[in-house]
Symmetry: C2
Subunit: 242 residues, 2 copies
Amino acid sequence: MKDELADVAPYRPSIYAAPFRKDGDGMEVELLSRSEQDALMEVSQLISVRRHTVLYPEGGEARFVYNVVSGVAQTYQLQANGDKRITAFLFPRDLIGLSENGAYVATAQSLTPVTAFRIPFDALQAILERDPGLDIGLLCKLCHELRRSQHHAITVARNDAPARLASFLLWIEHAYAPPGRLAGELILPMTRHDIADYVGLTVESVSRALHALEAQGVIRRKGPRFITLLDTAKLRKLAGQV
Amino acid sequence: MKDELADVAPYRPSIYAAPFRKDGDGMEVELLSRSEQDALMEVSQLISVRRHTVLYPEGGEARFVYNVVSGVAQTYQLQANGDKRITAFLFPRDLIGLSENGAYVATAQSLTPVTAFRIPFDALQAILERDPGLDIGLLCKLCHELRRSQHHAITVARNDAPARLASFLLWIEHAYAPPGRLAGELILPMTRHDIADYVGLTVESVSRALHALEAQGVIRRKGPRFITLLDTAKLRKLAGQV
DNA sequence: CGAAGGATTGAGTTCATTCAAGTTGGGTGG
DNA sequence: CCACCCAACTTGAATGAACTCAATCCTTCG
């Protein structure tokens, strides 16, 4: 059994987002400078959890923010009728820990084994007080998340089932590239039920929509968790992204 | 014709949001200190536009951020099929001007006469470099907007038409209290079409949902733009907010 | 006051949901 | 290592909610 610290030592805090300022190409960039990463590492703790671990519960006292560096997590809220609504899937270089009045607004749970930096709120605020660069980086990340959320709301508001799934698959392809993944080969770390909750459909409709996409020759399914994108252009058109 | 400046002189920049830290009650608070307001006023220009004015177009060069101080605006994106999807309605104490890579991500348009501070991006960034308090205030506001957007996505994803309208009406009641408005009396500054786009329904369905709410005795319509909330508790239950 | 756009109502259709029954596949114990 | 088993996934048929199409009513604004 190896030293756990040695295993995770190569990880550094990392936050990716598209900047709001024009900044070369339209790609996403690392928002943390070397020194900001160091500052965060000093105050935070690198944690590793196995799949299906609750990082924190909805309504719990919000004392940490998490920076995912490997694996996938989700946040969800329990509805009045009892079923859960997924508010976000979170990938490496994302932040988790949205709170309101000192309480987390959602439950955060790992879908795969997850490694993350656990950053105490107080320490983060202290760093923010003296590092304007970090503030602006975080503003950038939040704008990024806001755009994504608004886009998601639009997607879910009016598109039919295949369009929602097309949009979802394109997003996963862009956002989640685990090591060794081939281009166009998707690994879905979440269940159909999770996907259904996220895109606002039932499990059955997700299944049928994927079937429809496969019948059109746009994707190929290989078991429930592996999907190959065969025609990205057509997928994009189906998703309404012209 | 009166001096325009004299009319608008009492306005000051203002940003409201629920803080993420526990901070007394669960209410929203002013995030700008007096000195931050002063700093913003120094670099920004107070503008007044009449209704249906485009503040900036989608894709346009993002040089300003706007802080609404009176009136209502909306932001929307034009879809591939041509119709517009509303991403947000914006009220006094809100910020408008979300951009990505130097370009606005949506068109911003006033629904009523709007007064707003137009803040140059460069100047804002300069202030951010030296005022950590402002940064944290903006982070707070963005978290607030992100929560709202995620909540909106959830609302729109799985609720039926009456539930979406109930949720929408409750939000308007909370977010938009023009001077002289009585509690429970709503003035809708947007058309049915705008509402439909926002909640992900057709105009007809919005109409029918409002009719259904009225038939249940939860609201009363007085012309297309005036709605009285008769039973807020029941409305909340319909909206799924227990 | 009249026109034009917005809002409501009605009838028929469509597409996601519900309910129900298979099928698959990953994980566990023998 | 294999076979079993359970949960996840898929497929099918019937229901129902929201959409489309179309006509009428309202109201706002020139």
